[in-house]
């Protein structure tokens, strides 16, 4: 391969050598198991033998009352989990990024570093740490509320069915707000000074400058963040498992698809683990995520205008 005119070589082996390790690992550990899981969802163990049952597993999951209640509960909870992220995490992230990107702001590096810290912590720390802080046994949350005169508002949020899921969603927002903040911050930095100056010459400053000039320019980044949030949320598991355990209590109020998959696949308490039903749930999650990603790629992204500077 020492000749300079690689174009004229019939077989350029080095291309294969460069690609091989990544393609082999990626294909065997990721792509094949993904299809393997899809395939498993069409089988069922009957007398220790895998029998092809077509779409029966899906029918069981969606229609059989023993399964469907848990499934729809998990799916609904997952939806709410996502909605809370979209409504709270992204606006806060955009707000923080907009403030951080204002020129000559002092201590910007400190704020950026500090606000990103929760994002690097593991779910175990976040889940359990918040569980302790919100615990009625330990007085941190009540005494904080007491300090501002709002003690009446305190409730064991993680223990009440009606609040637990929202509380956990907000904890997750607390943890991940750094990601939209950083991505939007990066997008805001790419806006050329000339555009901002032109806007200022036209008398557009402050808030209206943000709404009329900057926001349209960062819409593609907001789109990417939304789809990343969607994928991450419909694949979430760790936080719920760390804070509430595999049973996603109280009374399955915080059960999302990830924890439902884990319980079904591995079993819990008296129920025996079932790889085929586990695969079925994983397949449905796959379809949901695929649908979300396709919606983003073919509907949202096409309508967003990208500006080249």
């Amino acid at each position: 391969m020492s000749t300079p005119q690689t174009e004229k070589h019939p077989v350029r082996w080095h291309i294969a050598v460069f690609l091989a390790p990544a393609v082999i690992v990626y294909t065997t550990i990721m792509i094949l198991p993904l299809f393997g899981t899809l395939q498993l969802s069409f089988f069922r163990q009957i007398d220790r033998e895998a029998v092809f049952v077509g779409l029966d597993n899906f029918r069981t999951l969606l229609l059989d009352p023993r399964w469907s209640a848990s499934f729809w509960n998990a799916l609904g909870n997952n939806m709410w989990f996502f909605v809370v992220h979209m409504l709270v995490q992204n606006p806060i992230g955009i707000l923080l990024a907009a403030i951080l990107s204002s020129p000559r702001l002092r201590l910007a590096a400190f704020y950026r570093t500090a606000i990103f810290i929760p994002t690097i912590l593991s779910f175990v720390i976040v889940g359990f740490g918040w569980k302790l802080i919100l615990s009625p046994i330990w007085g941190v949350a009540p005494s904080l509320l007491d300090a501002v005169g709002l003690k009446v508002l305190f409730a064991p949020w993680l223990g009440k069915e009606e609040y637990a899921l929202t509380t956990l969603s907000l904890i997750s927002v607390w943890q991940f707000v750094g990601i939209p903040m950083m991505l939007i911050y990066a997008a805001l930095l790419t806006i050329p000074d000339e555009i901002i100056e032109a806007a200022e010459c036209d008398g557009i400053t402050g808030m209206s400058q943000f709404w009329k000039v900057k926001l349209p320019l960062i819409l593609p980044s907001i789109g990417i963040i939304s789809v990343l949030t969607f994928v991450a949320n419909f694949n979430a598991f760790d936080l719920i498992y760390s804070a509430q355990g595999a049973l996603a209590g109280p009374n399955f109020a915080t059960d999302i698809l990830g924890t439902f998959l884990y319980r079904t696949f591995f079993g819990f308490q008296l129920q025996i683990g079932d790889p085929n039903m586990g695969s079925t749930i994983a397949s449905i999650m796959f379809l949901i995520i695929l649908a979300g990603v396709c919606f983003y790629l073919f509907v949202i992204q096409r309508r967003l205008r990208r500006y080249q500077f």
Binding site: M1, L19, T28, T37, A114, T119, V124, L189, N235
Partner: protein
């Protein structure tokens, strides 16, 4: 112009919002770390005060030291993270170089194939991954985790590095070719050093989810001698739920190394995230 953008009132408001959010972000972490250094009574009596001579105590850390095998867990996490990171960076850079440097049939298709994994999480294949690991006898080995994390990290690494490698000057590589360097040497000697900043960014992005992952250690390697720190802390906390000193100490021990690493590398990380922006 400066006057329109920087009225003092706006600046005060900006700092007020940022300080408020910084407190929200840091407060829970501080509460955990501070209380881990107090006696049991003090933890409950005054959770918000700093430890003083009377209330200072390391009893939680002693319990963790005596009961948990955290050194081993750390070692496991370190091996898994460093090995996966090395594989992701090396394999990812090689594939990115092939995709960005050569025109060959199927180039775009290969790029798309490798990018699929950015959007589709590897977790969905867990059932079949476990079967694969059982079949190849890799359950409860660190190798299983390293393989999975390598596959998990590759798509994003290839995607980001391809973008960066396209910016490496063509003339430089051609000059190398005229000097008789092989394609491999051009990659290792010329291109790799030039994309080092991008590699650092990819490294940080790859490392954090690997270090923090609970799912795969729980499923593929839950044995005592292959537990990672994240799983180890989870199990330990589960067993010592009522021993608040020990739980807080275990949480602090899990927080501190990541925090130290992050503060050491935060400049690099943030420069990496905004690198595309200020190029």
């Amino acid at each position: 112009m400066a006057t329109t953008r920087h009225s003092p009132a706006r600046s005060v408001a900006a700092h007020a919002i940022l300080i408020a959010y910084t407190i929200i972000a840091l407060f829970p972490v501080l509460v955990i770390v501070v209380n881990s250094l107090k006696t049991r009574n003090a933890i409950f009596r005054s959770p918000l005060s700093l430890p003083d001579e009377e209330t200072f105590s390391l009893v939680g850390y002693q319990t963790v030291w005596a009961q948990g095998d955290f050194i081993l867990y750390f070692q496991n996490s370190l091996i898994v993270t460093v090995a996966s990171l090395a594989c992701v960076l090396l394999f990812g850079a090689m594939a990115a170089f092939a995709l960005s440097e050569y025109r060959f049939r199927g180039n775009t298709l290969m790029g798309l194939y490798l990018a699929l994994g950015i959007m589709i999480p590897i977790r969905l294949g867990t059932v079949a991954i476990l079967q694969l690991m059982v079949a190849s006898g890799l359950v409860n080995t660190l190798t299983a985790l390293i393989l999975v994390y390598t596959a998990q990290g590759l798509p994003l690494a290839v995607f980001i590095l391809t973008e960066f490698m396209q910016q490496v000057s063509k003339d430089l590589k051609d000059a190398g070719r005229i000097d008789g360097l092989s394609e491999y040497r051009i990659f290792f000697r010329l291109v790799l050093p030039l994309v080092r900043p991008a590699m650092a960014t990819v490294g940080v992005f790859t490392m954090i989810p690997i270090w923090n992952d609970l799912w795969f250690p729980l499923i593929l390697a839950p044995a005592e001698d292959t537990k990672t720190v994240t799983l180890g802390a989870q199990v330990f906390i589960g067993q010592f739920v009522t021993n608040w000193n020990a739980v807080l100490a275990a949480l602090s021990l899990a927080i501190l190394p990541v925090l130290v690493l992050y503060i050491a590398f935060s400049r690099q990380l943030i420069r990496g995230i905004t690198a595309g922006a200020v190029k």
